[in-house]
Amino acid sequence: MFFNFKYSPRFEMVSSTSPAGAAGTIPCFSVGGGAEVGRRTGPASGSRFRFPSRVRSCGARAIFWGVRVDEGPLASRCGGALGQPARPPRGVDGWYGPAESRASGSAPPLPRPLVSEAAGTRAEAPHAGREASCCLQDTMNAIVALCHFCELHGPRTLFCTEVLHAPLPQGAGNGDSPGQGEQAEEEEGGIQMSSRIRAHSPAEGASAESSSPGPKKSDMCEGCRSLAAGHPGYISHDKETSIKYVSHQHPNHPQLFSIVRQACVRSLSCEVCPGREGPIFFGDEQHGFVFSHTFFIKDSLARGFQRWYSIIAIMMDRIYLINSWPFLLGKIRGIIDELQGKALKVFEAEQFGCPQRAQRMNTAFTPFLHQRNGNAARSLTSLTSDDNLWACLHTSFAWLLKACGSRLTEKLLEGAPTEDTLVQMEKLADLEEESESWDNSEAEEEEKAPVLPEGAGGRELTKCPTESSLLSDCANWQPRKLSVFKSLRHMRQVLGAPSFRMLAWHVLMGNQVIWKSRDADLVHSAFEVLRTMLPVGCVRIIPYSSQYEEAYRCNFLGLSPHVQIPSHVLSSEFAVVVEAHTAPRSSLHPAGCEDDQSLSKYEFVVTSGSPVAADRVGPTILNKMEAALTNQNLSVGVVDQCLVCLKEEWMNKVKVLFKFTKVDSRPKEDTQKLLSVLGASEEDNVRLLKFWMTGLSKTYKSHLMSAVRSPTASEPRN
């Protein structure tokens, strides 16, 4: 997991173990599939299109499991494949019109059917434009289509499969309510389009027909038609997700029609693929992003003995599409190979029977034999001599849509996780069983804190207050009383620069920091502020104790004033003591604003066994932190971020050093060289690095260890 994070600003893709994704093969073409449905199968409105369960990684078992069965009668195979028997649809009397000519009843009819529409719509019908963009961006996520460059008619969409979500999501309706019929249909789980058909009056359908976006019948030849004129199309139900996969010659919704049409024209007649056959990517926000794979199909009667096709996948989400590229390429390539293989067989058989080259040469000069409309374009079905072609394509495309949709899930991340995040996550995991009460009950924690028994286990010692969010490390601790420290800058003001510097130095070095005060809240706030200087993993706090605790148990220790601190500690250079006495005078720090008034009743004395020499350079990070704190142009928020960055910078050095010394066990001289490369060869910096090394996440450490032991080892689990 750790190295799985893509440094994408938005989200990452994680492969799921969904069976659909893992299935890995395209259903065979020899299998019939796709139960035929009633004529009125088109989506009633654009807002129903949605890519299947993209966020739910493995919600849906592949419903097409059975598709790969090769034997058995067609009907049962269909049933097995799709979970839907190909039973005759009901309510025949309610049907009307051929499937191709359906247009949505809700969207305004658009007079001009072709590519122009997408551009034109915005101006002509702003309402429709808005609706389209909403339906595409929010819900419609993918369409797969087969396109053909017809010798007579140019680029044409032959067959396309859409994802249809049902029932209609709440609030998405645009005057086209699915009604209860839809509900009933879902309950029965069958393929009954009848209920939906009743929801629309035939009259409505008739008017829709006139505005159908599809090309006129007269403009169609065998070559650019897939389903016969009266064919209702194919539909597959995914019961688990109540998603339907619907296949037609053209999408019925005018906006989708024009998007597919545009993608088809671009894929076949505009975009250049080196080598002509192959995958390309193009698109834009408005018309969607397109994966297109062009290919030839052999045809002995075609002018160049081959015809030009493409399979396109259109999505509105560019990143998703690009991430799906290898998957789509592999599967679509598989579909294409199958088609080409079949067509080649047909072609070779035909050439054997009647060599076209010679025949054409012979008839070349017979006038009027080669008229423009002379050659009847042939359908793909006849080119591959596969009567089940469209049903098979439907299953393949639907499978593709489903598998592609459940392959990847996206996770919201605000950039790469910091080391702190990881440590916190680990701690969270350790504390999982009792973590519920911790989530945001700061009060509870505070109640607990002062009464910590002597034998407080390591668990409590290293407990991280989870109120600071996992994603942002800046302390968002809210003061409820006035006598508290609010930020490092505040503390620096209160203590004065020299004292603060000494204190900070000890904090960064990992020395024990002891605060003595009657006011536990004050101590608590001081620790909350000081801890932001250190990586989370380096912080061990005992907020308030009635007896001294050893340095190995905590580096932040709060004590009540009367507690005796052992003398060796007091004289040690590895400890610093801050005493908060009640100040005799009312205002020690006149510079402070009114906020400080409550603190002004205290006088702070910072002492250590070995005071830091004033001319000592100190760790680099300390100087940088001080610079940030003194720079009044930086707001508190900026300073916080600055600290996060500085810590991350030095944590990275720690990681390098860790790998170098602990994992690779390199000799001293090398380490010295490395340190100078890192800009950390001074004694203070080295000490700091060594201390911080204790704060590395287990994940990281074990990853490095295992990576060394076996270079091919997979990433450690989180």
Binding site: S269, V272, R303
Partner: protein, 397 residues
């Protein structure tokens, strides 16, 4: 050009002149320079037909027309030496095929072969961009088919294009006439001419001039027609014609063509009328010369070019006519028809040819200077990242 063509002069004077030919060394005139720097010669010898003062956009010749009218065939036969029979197996064109005719040939322009099925007046396509840089629009009509639809398309195309760019030459190829009888050809041409111009008149656009050609890839008519299309795009054409006129009248030559050797397009001829047979003979002669020198003229390892400044050929026909071919530039050849009795004074012809050749070089020298200075400009422009032909919608092959 100031050189007066006239009587033969002593050889030594000729040599002296050779030395005075300052600035012509670029063209491989000197014995050394030709081999020394063939590439620069090749590059510089390219003639750019665009207006010298306009930006560096090669003039486009568009091939438009309905599907299967023969556009791709024309392009392949004229510029790729494809045999006409092979065109039977050409695929239908699915996207605009753009081809530069400059590296291989003296002429320098782009040919855009359009797919017949796609409506480029659809708003998705930027047809204004297509027509803006266009020098000539060739509309191909299949004469063996019913041409009513083609005429409607012709009308639409011409009027739209004219609105964008009034400088386009509109050329209508009445194509595949090999399938028509002679009477039928004339009748078809008359009919198409009539209808097309009537349509324009009805639209109030009489000022648009359409030129009509009867063409077929199975004979030389397509080369002839293409020659005329290209000639109209050559700004130096009157000068070249004039030079040829002076040359033939002083040398007793019947007819002379200046040929682009690679495409067999003639870029200029004298002002006497061209008849088809003469033109075909010239084409055939070029083929013979190139074929022979390909077979016998190249070195063992295939090095060398079949056409260089030594290239020359004389073919005597049995009707007292002599065909005489001589190299003019790397890409151009002069082919003359001479009566046998005139050809007896070959010295005179050669001398005059020498003058003519020099004059031609001078004509194009002006051009080269323009091209050179423009190249410098272009380089500067390119640095700025200018894309002169950027088209958002139509991507070309």
């Amino acid at each position: 050009m100031s050189q007066v063509l006239g009587k033969p002069q002593p050889e030594d004077e000729d040599d002296d002149e050779e030395d005075e030919l300052v600035g012509l060394a670029d063209y491989g005139d000197g014995p050394d320079s030709s081999d020394a720097d063939p590439d620069s010669g090749a590059e510089e010898g390219v003639l750019d037909f665009s207006d010298p003062f306009s930006t560096e956009v090669k003039p486009r010749i568009l091939l438009m027309g309905l599907r299967r009218s023969g556009k791709s065939s024309i392009q392949k036969v004229v510029f790729h030496k494809m045999s006409p029979n092979e065109t039977l197996f050409l695929e239908s064109t699915n996207k605009i095929c753009r081809e530069d005719v400059s590296n291989s040939s003296f002429v320098n322009f782009q040919i855009w072969d359009f797919p017949g099925q796609i409506d480029f007046f659809d708003p998705t396509f930027d047809y204004e961009m297509i027509f803006r840089g266009t020098g000539a629009l060739i509309f191909v009509i299949d004469s063996q088919d019913d041409y009513m639809e083609a005429l409607a398309r012709l009308h639409l195309t011409v009027t739209r294009a004219y609105k964008v760019n009034t400088d386009i030459n509109f050329e209508v190829f009445i194509h595949k006439v090999d399938g028509l009888s002679d009477d039928h050809k004339i009748e078809t041409q008359r009919d198409i001419h009539q209808r097309a111009n009537d349509d324009l008149a009805d639209a109030g656009l009489e000022k648009i001039h359409l030129s009509f050609y009867l063409t077929s890839i199975y004979d030389h008519s397509i080369f002839e027609a293409f020659s005329k299309v290209v000639q109209k795009l050559i700004p130096q054409l009157p000068t070249l014609e004039n030079l040829l006129n002076i040359f033939i009248s002083n040398s007793g030559i019947e007819k002379a063509f200046l040929f682009d050797v690679v495409s067999k397009i003639y870029i200029a001829t004298d002002s006497t009328p061209v008849d088809m047979q003469t033109y075909e003979l010239c084409c055939d002669m070029i083929d013979v010369v190139i074929d022979i020198s390909c077979i016998y003229g190249l070195k063992e390892d295939g090095a060398g070019t079949p056409y260089d400044k030594e290239s020359t050929a004389i073919i005597k026909l049995n009707n007292t006519t002599v065909l005489y071919l001589k190299e003019v530039t790397k890409f151009l050849a002069l082919v003359c028809f001479v009566r046998e009795e005139s050809f007896e004074r070959k010295g005179l012809i050669d001398y005059n040819f020498h003058c003519f050749r020099k004059a031609i070089h001078e004509v194009f020298e002006v051009r080269m200077k323009m091209v050179k200075s423009r190249k410098v400009q272009n380089r500067l422009q390119k640095k700025k990242g200018a894309t002169p032909n950027g088209t958002p919608n139509v991507l070309l092959q």
